[in-house]
Symmetry: C2
Subunit: 234 residues, 2 copies
Amino acid sequence: MPNTVARKLANGAALQADDKERLRDLIRDWRTVPARTDIIRHGDDPEFVHAILEGIACRYKILPDGRRSIMALLIPGDWCDMHIAILGRMDHSIGTLTPCRVVDIARSEIEELLQNHPRIARAMWWATLVDEAVLREWLVNMGKRRADRQMAHLFCELYLRFASIGWAEDFALPMTQEQLADTLGITVVHAQRVIATLRDDGLIDIRDRQIAIPDIRRLMDFAEFDPDYLHLPY
Amino acid sequence: MPNTVARKLANGAALQADDKERLRDLIRDWRTVPARTDIIRHGDDPEFVHAILEGIACRYKILPDGRRSIMALLIPGDWCDMHIAILGRMDHSIGTLTPCRVVDIARSEIEELLQNHPRIARAMWWATLVDEAVLREWLVNMGKRRADRQMAHLFCELYLRFASIGWAEDFALPMTQEQLADTLGITVVHAQRVIATLRDDGLIDIRDRQIAIPDIRRLMDFAEFDPDYLHLPY
DNA sequence: CGTGGGCTTGACGCCATTCAATCTCCGTGG
DNA sequence: CCACGGAGATTGAATGGCGTCAAGCCCACG
């Protein structure tokens, strides 16, 4: 799906034909990255900007005691470090959870893009602001909801995000329970218990790291999910 | 402190004399807002952009059951909704916690500013990206640390943020325990117990909604606080 | 002087952690 | 071909952090 990036950005700003063509040009070269591999590390001041074309990656930090905290999930069409030049250095790491296809784009090329394609630039900022909105919702989720609702809420969000790039049918979420636990801030053991109850209640259908949602409405009700914060265009 | 805004932004980009003058012009008119009053509400598409000159405000959401979740604290020099035009509508509310001095700036004026003053525009984006970094750290804090460390971590952050705008001596944090509890995602009762232990351990000196930190190093050690994520220029 | 908001304290219960053991599935090497 | 080992999933029991409920205290304010 080479046009996933354009499709995602088109959710945030009306892109025109030449914008999409420019984006297609930009991501002509990609590489594959195995699962559980860092793309950028905490402290880096990377010379390339990265985007995910396929697979799932995450932003994470490692605490002094070795525990990992996942602060964002990156799916196809997402940018890893678009505006890192403004901050100067990474304050977290980005690593793959599953095998991924990734593009590396030189900073100079990005700067040219942002300067000469205002609609693309605006869409890039839109994506960054949506990332921030997602972070705020995760904070609410973690602070106020119990683990079962929290897990359901995450599944709803990811389902809609995959749908928004036209990948609704490919939604399977091949993450381990440990990765889910690190995302929600709970232990693996508890994550497993929560998943078991969601499965027993028929809210999700999950096995072998493949999830299916039989009734998204029901899951959204259970999670008190309001898609407002994703700022999708409908 | 009329130059607080410039001082904060100068942490993110080298501002020159005319930039600072332009900023001073911009915030010539301000108004006072009482405590516990909304500045912008969820769903708004505001025609003014707001900044805090004095006092403490917060970003928050209200859950279906009426509980409040505070997702960010805004202190003097912080912008409330700088780039809201790109997202189109507020996905959360912003309200004062204490009495505040606030400036309202017309969107058109902001757009002129961002177009004609690239260094200011860059600094504005820097501030937005730092907000995002703070959100990430709060997520880690909430997910992985116990309430006492979490509270200490928040105090460290706020102390440094006040110091970074030259207000270290004015740091007092006149928030109620309920407001702190909503920020950390814990109950008022537990917040009170945690504050009591921190006070008993001599880590903070707090009474009548006035906090003092006798030994910031000790508090930072206790909280495992690493100021990296604030992207301060030293 | 009464009232309400915020702070404080105690008892009890639950959600989630911790520790530990078992099971399944795979890939690898003998 | 099968033994072995490691990763991930699953389950049980005990512990503890935090929430819930409830009552009492302090103090500013009308």
